[in-house]
């Protein structure tokens, strides 16, 4: 079976619901296609769990399929998340730009990709990254982090709203 994005994966590491993993004739495990929902593609594999956290999917009741270290022509390895029957606001999805700047969002309706979206880096982000300054108040007291994103020569860095220090986005990966 080939899923609705046309990816044919030889190994799918995990699925939350086994009945949706089907045994192919040549014994490959393939994930079932989504009927309706959202597919987040081109996520750096190591940040898959950060993405789940940022989108608050840890307590999600809908079916979620996760792929890690899948082959990608563009990126070598990638991660993918499929969430059944869930659609997101742009503001929610754009929060992912920090950990998955190249991610593609595919909206699936009736087994077809009806819309593809790219992420836009938000101007301000709250409660996601940690400030790299060990003396920042946010690392000592229960204070939600807040940053302004700054772009310089295609490099993103974060200016802490509290200690006014710059956190290098590379530290987040």
């Amino acid at each position: 079976m080939i899923d609705n994005l046309g990816y044919r994966q030889s190994i799918i590491n995990e699925s939350l619901y086994n009945n949706h993993i089907m045994t192919h004739t040549d014994k490959e495990l393939v994930v079932s296609a989504l009927e309706n929902g959202t597919v987040l593609d081109h996520i750096p594999s190591e940040n898959i769990f950060k993405v789940l956290e940022i989108l608050n999917l840890m307590d999600e009741k809908n079916r979620i399929t996760i792929g890690i270290n899948l082959n990608s022509k563009l990126f070598g390895k990638k991660g993918i998340i499929k969430i059944a029957d869930r659609f997101f606001q742009d503001e929610e999805l754009n929060k992912l730009a920090l950990v998955a700047p190249k991610a593609t969002v595919n909206i699936i309706r009736d087994f077809r990709v009806v819309e593809k979206r790219k992420l836009v880096m938000p101007h301000e982000i709250e409660g996601i990254a940690k400030c790299m300054n060990p003396k920042c108040i946010t690392n000592h007291q229960p204070v939600k982090t807040r940053f302004t994103t700054m772009e310089n020569d295609n490099e993103i860095s974060l200016l802490c709203h509290y200690c006014e220090k710059i956190t290098d986005i590379k530290g987040l990966y």
């Binding site: 400030c131 003396k135 920042c136 108040i137 007291q141 229960p142 709203h161 509290y162 200690c163 220090k165």
Partner: protein, 301 residues
């Protein structure tokens, strides 16, 4: 709406000039009981003499009363109370909070939790805006203007928050900077980038002698042991510069030496007697500037 002063960047150029003007008025008449009946909290979670005493004097001279502490060990903070709870509680009692805290960003956070204006009297190595304003006041008083001056900053330009804030504030007035620092304590890249964006010129050197004779303000700083996480790094640089009276033979006549104090070895005592020394008067100016900040934020000036 309540207005706080957390970072020098919270003030516009006009507000800076206004506060300096009000400070001048207070210097001419230093007892003006315009805040009779007000209570202001000075809460210092970290030791300080100059800043705390001058803030408390400023409050008293304005006719308000001071409550607070100068050492957090005798308070509920030592029982594990969060900063949020301390600030919530204190802001129910008073009309303004003046606060110093070792953690960076603590004052910004406090201003978001408090129902009254907050004045940042130093948050770790981050900001100390009343120091910046008194530095500006001292520059203006000694040079007669703020525009088109050459400022030579000397010493710890990496951890020294006073130099960072002064740089940001002076950027309104078309300055030229000289950064005199050893390799380990150079001005951080983000501040140089800030100047580049504003097309403000600067040069860097590690020699104290090199630019003594072509600056209007010599802004000396102490290498602060408490800012170093690595004691070895501190030992290497602690006595790197020492200004002596004999080095001042060819300086500009209008040149003045500023220092946020306390000094240790970086300015020899024999400099105190020269006409260029201004650091004690600078510390006195702190009183008028702090009176001006309090009066302005509470809407009385």
């Amino acid at each position: 709406m309540k207005k706080s002063l957390i970072s020098i960047r919270d003030f516009t150029k006009d507000e800076i000039l206004h506060v300096l003007e009000v400070a001048r008025e207070f210097e001419q008449n230093r007892v003006q009981k315009i805040l009779e009946g007000k209570v202001i909290a000075c809460i210092f979670f970290e030791p300080s003499t100059r800043t705390r005493l001058s803030f408390e004097t400023a409050v008293n001279r304005l006719g308000a009363k001071v409550i607070g502490f100068s050492d957090a060990t005798n308070t509920s903070v030592s029982k594990g109370e969060t900063l949020k709870d301390t600030i919530k509680m204190v802001s129910n009692y008073v009309d303004m909070i003046i606060m110093r805290h070792p953690l960076e960003g603590s004052s910004r956070y406090a201003s978001e939790v408090a129902s009254v204006p907050v004045v940042n009297a130093g948050d770790g190595a981050n900001q100390h805006p009343s120091q910046t304003l008194l530095d500006l006041y001292s520059i203006k008083q000694t040079q007669g203007r703020l525009e088109d001056l050459t400022i030579n900053m000397v010493g710890d330009l990496k951890y020294g928050r006073t130099t960072h804030s002064l740089l940001q504030a002076m950027s309104f007035f078309n300055p030229r900077f000289i950064f005199t620092a050893p390799e380990e304590l150079k001005m951080p890249v983000e501040y140089k980038k800030f100047l580049d964006e504003k097309h403000i010129g600067y040069s860097e050197t590690n020699s104290l002698e090199e630019h003594l004779d072509d600056c209007d303000i010599l802004y000396m700083t102490r290498v602060q042991q408490e800012r170093f996480t690595d004691p070895m790094e501190y030992e290497k640089v602690k006595d790197v510069y020492r200004l002596e009276a004999s080095m001042l033979g060819n300086v500009k006549q209008n040149m003045k030496i500023l220092h946020p104090l306390p000094r240790v070895n970086e300015i020899d005592q024999d400099v105190d007697e020269t006409p260029y020394a201004y650091y004690f008067k600078q510390a006195e100016n702190g009183l008028y500037v702090r009176m001006a900040i309090i009066a302005y934020l509470l809407g009385y000036r």
